[in-house]
């Protein structure tokens, strides 16, 4: 098949806006972060006040990041967090979507909108909101629990991660649900009819018709959730002032933020960011590869 010159030009014209934006706001910043992560600052003169120059550091910043106990802890923390958060999120989103899709469901539009509504609340606002519900002294939830003799501490070292998980779930479950709902809507009605004729009950329809057909949506939302949990940032940042359990390197993103804007060490922050991006890449593509292989096995 030959492609005429005009067609090529048209294709280039359509691609250009994407390529320019992709280059300017994706490739370039990542490239700069990688470049930055390979540099370090050398100082001279008494007290180091005699001026500074930037020199090539090789892998020194990566070594520093990976040998920093606090940073490694933060990576382990978000991985553990993802282990609980991802199944919880996908399970909840799928359940809500299936309920809304059920033939007997009432008020579907109302519930769909209200499940989705929290996604419209920015993460910082959501965290402030929940912060009020977690903070002793102002939280009606704690007051209520106190009244029945349960002394809850939502912000302690053993509970705060679950409190964060709750905020994240509240924010994004509705969004993920919507992705699943969209896919459910795309299922051919003939299949339901066929299932009905075969005598399938509602449960069997879900198991054998709906779930296999919404698989792509589940894969997509899982990847979103993996990436989202690794990048946890706004929630711990906002809760930090009221919790004694959240330190400045609680999550990898928070650690990078601290290095860049508290410690003025942009190179180390860049290295930490690159490590996090690599981890997210490996996990996301690893997951895609895993489900892709199962697909072909069938």
């Amino acid at each position: 098949m030959t492609v005429s010159r005009t067609e090529r030009r048209a294709a280039a014209g359509f691609l250009l806006p994407f390529v320019v934006l992709f280059g300017a706001f994706f490739v370039l910043p990542i490239g700069y972060a990688i470049y930055r992560s390979l540099l370090t600052t050398k100082r001279s003169g008494p007290l180091g006040l005699g001026g500074s120059r930037t020199v090539f550091a090789g892998a020194a910043n990566y070594v520093a990041a990976l040998t920093d106990e606090a940073f490694v802890d933060s990576v382990v923390r978000v991985l553990g967090f993802a282990l609980i958060q991802v199944p919880l999120m996908i399970g909840l989103a799928t359940t809500m979507a299936l309920l809304l899709d059920a033939a007997s469901a009432r008020g579907v539009r109302f519930f769909r909108s209200s499940y989705f509504l929290p996604y419209g609340v920015p993460g910082v606002i959501a965290s402030v909101l929940w912060g009020f519900l977690y903070a002793p002294g102002v939280s009606p939830i704690i007051d209520l629990l106190d009244a029945v003799g349960i002394h809850a501490n939502f912000l302690g070292s053993s509970t705060v991660l679950f409190s964060i998980a709750n905020i994240v779930t509240w924010e994004f479950a509705g969004y993920n649900m919507l992705v699943v709902v969209a896919q459910l809507k795309a299922i051919d009605q003939d299949l339901y009819e066929a299932a009905e004729i075969d005598g399938a009950n509602a449960y069997q329809v879900i198991r054998s018709v709906k779930l296999p057909l919404i698989r792509p949506a589940l894969v997509l939302t899982t990847v979103f959730t993996i990436i989202g949990t690794l990048q946890l940032f706004a929630e711990p940042l906002v809760l930090r002032p009221i919790s004694t359990a959240i330190n400045t390197s609680y999550t990898p993103n928070l650690a990078a933020y601290t290095q860049a804007f508290v410690n003025n060490n942009y190179s180390l922050a860049a290295a930490q960011s690159v490590i996090l991006a690599a981890a997210a890449c490996v996990l996301s593509f690893g997951f895609l590869h895993l489900v892709g292989r199962k697909e072909t096995d069938r």
Binding site: R43, P46, L47, L49
Partner: protein, 447 residues
């Protein structure tokens, strides 16, 4: 919940009094024309504009006053987030980019070395700032002096005292504690008298407060020896203070909730926390967040460690600095000195509510020199004036102070969660701080 961070405003304070204004304005100033190529200076009669980044409440009014009195040297104020909340990041980015930095900026004392390291501040001795030295409290002048240079004009500080609920102390038969031993006894009496009440909180996420207590105990965490930075966080004095609070927490004599958070404000309102060793600017925090307790609070001097002369400490302090790249450093310096010494400017800033003037003898006749209804008519600032004179002048900072605070916070949080003690947190923070400085390519030693 913006109040979570509102205390940063408190640290910022302001001006000094001193009647002789530095001003005189314009271009005739000092023979400081050796200012290098970047600073061509202003020709007489030329109209110029200086930009000034600050977050201090009330500073807008002082700038307006300057502008009405100095039509040729206009100052354009740009409000930025408080330093720790992003203001410094903004300044550092602008300095690094080499463009977009203001002529003048609000810089807290503990941040000055960090800016020096990035070569971000103008040495004001080139512009005759030494002539203004006598207008400022000595220890605050030292806060902006490194080597032979003076890198900022002191603005305000936070001499410390102890706020306490006089009504509850009287009801329980407790006198305001004179020593830390008394403070502990009072804490335990309070626990016995009211199971819901505590004397105070140990804020695990606010090591700046702990730093001030160590400062009071005679610790000197940071210093300079020749060309080497000296770190001595893990000193006998600091460990004494850490062990004291370890015991207070272990015996459940203090709360361990964060300060400047809603739960803490609620405790202040309900009489569940009845004292607060804090800086002078704490008065506005109390009256703003526990208005229902008006008239019940008083201020006493800081509890003392036995066997030493009366010593207070400082919590928070801020300056006006001239940033590298300023086109008119002479005029910028003149404005900075005016802002922080002109009595009218000082009064405007005091009304904004930021703290204790760095200018000499600024109290008398200023807006601070009055009885406060919130404190039952007490002239509370007399206590802080005495405190201001009893602050160790030797205290200095390092280029990674903010990170050192965070190391302490992390250790304190762990200790509260049952992993280790405050004393161990202090030891760990020292090791990490030394590593921070080395990572910046600096020579460092422990004492």
């Amino acid at each position: 919940m913006t109040s979570w961070r509102s205390h940063r405003l408190g640290r910022a304070a302001v001006l000094g009094t001193v009647a002789t204004l530095a001003l005189v304005g314009c271009g005739l100033g000092s023979g400081a024309k050796d200012s290098g190529p970047a600073a061509a200076g202003r020709t007489p009669g030329e109209k110029i504009e200086l930009t000034f980044w600050s977050w201090v409440p009330g500073v807008d009014k002082a700038v307006d006053l300057w502008n009405s009195e100095h039509p040729d040297v206009k100052v354009k104020l740009e409000k930025i987030p408080a330093g720790g909340a992003g203001g410094y990041a903004k300044m550092h980015s602008a300095l690094q980019a080499g463009t977009g930095a203001p002529d003048l900026a609000q810089v807290e004392y503990q941040e000055i070395p960090g800016f020096l390291l990035e070569d971000g501040l103008v040495d004001l001795t080139k512009y005759g700032v030494d002539d203004d030295k006598s207008k400022f409290v000595e220890w605050q002048w030292q806060q902006a002096s490194y080597g032979d240079g003076v890198y900022a004009v002191p603005q305000a500080s936070g001499p410390m005292g102890m706020f306490y609920r006089q009504d509850l102390f009287a009801k329980w038969g407790i006198a305001p504690p004179k020593t830390w031993t008394d403070f502990r006894k009072a804490a335990s009496t309070i626990r016995a008298k009211d199971p819901n009440a505590y004397i105070a909180t140990f804020p695990p996420g606010n090591s700046a407060w702990f730093t001030s207590l160590a400062w009071q105990a005679g610790a000197k965490w940071f210093g300079v020896d020749g060309d080497t930075w000296v770190v001595d966080i893990d000193s006998a004095e600091t460990r004494k203070v850490a062990a004291y609070w370890d015991a207070m927490v272990k015996d459940k004599l203090v709360k361990t909730e964060p300060d400047f958070a809603n739960a803490w404000y609620k405790d202040l309102q309900t009489g569940h926390i009845v004292a607060w060793p804090s800086a002078q600017w704490g008065d506005a925090i109390l009256s703003g967040n526990a208005p229902n307790t008006a008239g019940k609070w008083r201020v006493a001097p800081m509890p003392q460690w036995e066997g030493s002369a009366f010593t207070s400490a400082n919590w928070g302090g801020s300056s006006t600095a001239v940033l590298k790249g300023a086109k008119y450093p002479q005029e910028a310096k003149d404005f900075a000195v005016w802002l922080n010494t002109d009595p009218k400017s000082i009064d405007l800033l005091i009304k904004g509510g930021y703290g204790w003037p760095a200018a000499q003898d600024a109290l008398q006749g200023s807006a601070l020199d009055r009885p406060y209804e919130f404190f039952g008519g007490q002239k509370t600032n007399d206590v802080f004036a005495a405190a201001d004179k009893a602050i160790d002048k030797q205290w200095g900072w390092i280029p990674t102070t903010a990170a050192a605070y965070e190391h302490l916070n992390d250790g304190f949080r762990k200790a509260i969660a049952g992993q280790g003690t405050f004393v161990q947190a202090v030891t760990a923070a020292q090791a990490k701080t030394v590593a921070d400085l080395e990572a910046k390519g600096l020579k460092v030693r422990t004492s």
